[in-house]
């Protein structure tokens, strides 16, 4: 943990140990710190911590909005149900959430990194390309969703048009238009992941480009003098220099993808069947469409616990990063 070595540790002798100011002096010390923190903490307590606690409480009840009066303590029954009975689709949603997040993060990281490396070279119209590369990131999620929904349309979408027109010396990998939103749902998964990747890669480009610019140029020069080729320089100088930022941005991307709702909901509603049903959509549907509040609360709680394990690593990465400075 990086404590500020420059923090004000020594309070002037005129102050009490609680930091109460002596008459005529400005507020100081821990009291002032808590006052400065108060608005943010108040908001976090009301909008995040209280609701989470209430959700956990609900998960031990039998609240269903179709019969709201039948709400009583039922212990672990909800947990047993969702964890053991496949009817509730919990594990399916867990699997797709992880698949979606890992696929989106890994692929958009590779694309975004490639972009960052190219845009970091001396090229013509650099600023223009950098600006254009950012656009997919700032286009609203729902717009991205509907745009890709249209592009992946089975009858008149541009994706099918391009795929079916591929003809390599008589070999046509996709002879017939694909039904993207039907069948087993594999193609629907590809479609939502493709849309999310296009929306995500500029974030990596932006952050990694910023990171690349902090790398000291003389390290590259030294490596060059030592005869290191482009690939060796990338492996020995670029990657180690960016390790901290790579850890941060990939973790952030994983978190955002695990929370993804807009792109999937607007494109497929979780379908066909439950093929693109991630945890957020699954819980949203359970709570607000099927009205099973307590069941949704139970799944939320288990999901929260699973993500907390992940958080443990996340916090350690962040702390490790702060410690380097």
């Amino acid at each position: 943990m990086a404590e500020q070595t420059t923090s004000y540790q020594d309070e002037p002798a005129t102050r009490s140990r609680f930091g109460m100011p002596a008459p005529g002096q400005a507020l100081e010390g821990p009291l002032l710190a808590w006052i400065l923190l108060a608005p943010a903490l108040l908001l976090l307590i009301v909008v995040i911590f209280y609701p989470v606690a209430h959700t956990i409480w609900l998960s031990f009840h039998s609240l269903n909005l179709s019969e709201p009066l039948n709400n009583h303590w039922i212990g672990w029954r909800n947990y047993k149900n969702i964890l053991t009975n496949p009817v509730f689709g919990f594990w399916n949603a867990v699997r797709f959430s992880i698949l979606f997040s890992v696929a989106v993060t890994v692929i958009s990281f590779v694309i975004g990194f490639a972009f960052a490396l190219i845009l970091n070279e001396r090229i013509r119209f650099q600023t223009l390309w950098r600006g254009l590369a950012l656009i997919p990131w700032v286009i609203p999620y729902v717009v991205v969703a509907y745009l890709f929904f249209y592009m992946f349309n089975s009858q008149y979408g541009i994706v099918n048009d391009v795929l079916t027109s591929i003809n390599l010396f008589g070999w046509r990998p996709v002879p017939h238009p694909l039904g993207w939103y039907g069948g087993t749902g594999t193609l629907a998964r590809v479609a939502v992941i493709t849309a999310a990747i296009w929306n995500r890669f500029p974030f990596f480009t932006l952050m990694l480009l910023a990171g690349l610019q902090t790398l000291p140029q003389d390290l590259f020069d030294a490596a060059k003098v030592d005869g290191a080729g482009a690939f060796a320089r990338f492996k020995l100088v670029t990657l180690p220099g960016l390790r901290g930022i790579i850890a941060v941005v990939t973790t952030l991307s994983l978190i955002w993808s695990l929370n993804e709702f807009a792109i999937i909901w607007a494109m497929t509603n979780g379908g066909p069947g439950v093929a693109t049903d991630n945890m957020v959509i699954h819980i949203y549907r359970a709570a607000f469409i099927e009205q099973g509040i307590s069941r949704a609360a139970t799944m939320s709680t288990v999901w929260l616990l699973m993500l907390l394990v992940f958080t443990y690593f996340y916090v350690r990465i962040m702390e490790g990063k702060a410690g380097v400075e």
Binding site: A33, P51, G131, I255, A262, I283
Partner: protein
Amino acid sequence: MSVHALTPRTRKRIGRFFLYVALAILMVYAFFPTFWLISTSLKPQLEAFQNPPTWIPHTITFHSYRILPEDHAGFVQYLKNSFIVGIATTVITLIAAAHAGYALSRFRFRGARSLVLLILATQMFPYVTILISLYTLFRQLHLLNTYQALILAFTAFSLPFSIWMMKGFCDTVPADLEEAARVDGASRLRALYDVLLPVIAPGVVAIGLFTFLTAWNELLFALTLTSSPNMRTIPPGFVLTYIGEFQDRWPDMMAASVVVSIPVIILFTIFQRQLVRGLTAGAVKG
């Protein structure tokens, strides 16, 4: 002939060539969907259903843009709501995060370390865990269908990341800088406002942009916490409009999409330099 037999100059030229080829491929990938969005928005209704699709519209028409204000009931209202909620969320987040980040960076007090960890962990809470109970809470407080509900929710979601970033920015500035000002008789807050904030301004802009983008994009809570069309922001407005009566009116939908994308694109273009400078200075270090 092996690559090594080439003169350094030729090798460099070949390298440049491949660099530009790679740039071209990536730019096509980055820009094609946006091109398709604009192209479709300029097509007449029927042309959007043509198979094979036309790349450049045969007939270019601005009809979809012209009918936007009156045709899509509520479209202007969604845009207005998104601006109100987005700006308010950004302002409140920046104020709260600046003070909290400053306190965590500059003060030592009991629990400070746990607090930083707690705030980082909050970042990981799945939003959907909060949704169910927040909906119930806001219903009891009669906050459903109000700007306040959306602003409170979006601010709380943006805060953990913003506080953490702000603390990082403050950490990069030596405390001597403020100390000099404080010796001159300025109070703590004066030092924050007059000395520290101007120095970390690019970082503040970066946090503001992230926050605005989050509020502008959010669908799950906007959909749940509002039910009246008057209160909807763009994302729920879009979902509910285009799943209903306007379904399959592609050019109209794409025209509306272009219009709602423009404000954020302008915003990011204006502040791009500060954004990169801010990220370079703070978040990326280490």
